[in-house]
Subunit: 110 residues, 2 copies
Amino acid sequence: MGTTKTKDYSAQELSIAKYAKALSHPARVAILNVLLKRQSCICGAIVDELPLSQSTVSQHLKELKAAGLIKGDIDGVSVCYCIDEKEWTKAKNQLGLLLDRLTLPASKCC
Amino acid sequence: MGTTKTKDYSAQELSIAKYAKALSHPARVAILNVLLKRQSCICGAIVDELPLSQSTVSQHLKELKAAGLIKGDIDGVSVCYCIDEKEWTKAKNQLGLLLDRLTLPASKCC
DNA sequence: CAAATTCATCGTAATTTTACGATTAATATG
DNA sequence: CATATTAATCGTAAAATTACGATGAATTTG
């Protein structure tokens, strides 16, 4: 309990859930907003724009990285984060595929 | 702790997070797959297609309903669920707006 | 009306998530 | 080399999530 039975779902379902989970917290959406807007994406700069502590932001960055949506390049003492375009596109396509599937005149039952 | 500070985020960030959260579990994606595919969307039929107990499915349905993505019509003893087209479109647009924002030649920093 | 069906809700347990301060490792700067 | 700066990680606590069986409410059906 408290554990998801990943074994019983399709690759599509798991993939979509993974990307959606990355976007399921406003702080992570806010981080992505910063990365999409800015050139400089030094971790410290992100921390400055968010109402969260450095350690909490670092954790959110780790999750975004785990989902593949961002990557970080070490640059001396600091780390520069940015969108991973390839994976981002994949997320867009996967989510789009699901969300675009309501084209027909809709199910007749409700 | 354990609680998100919703006060400090924009409406866009909260809205996207809300929809993404609804899609952040493979069981809920699977439920939506069923609703998108089927005409008949009786709760019991959904339970039959998922590897989860009736009470667990009911809980997931509740969350999808809370996010606005689905609605349920009582029909005698059973309940017929279906996609809420209006809200679904909103989710699609909100998520699309974020995900489509990587059109430019990408940030130069990484 | 009794029995069956359908589904929501309750109670509970394990796990995960969210958040923060403190510490640590690594690099830069005086 | 001592000191600062940057960011990850650790430890911890509170809360939310996931899951299930049991119970309840509502509606059919016999």
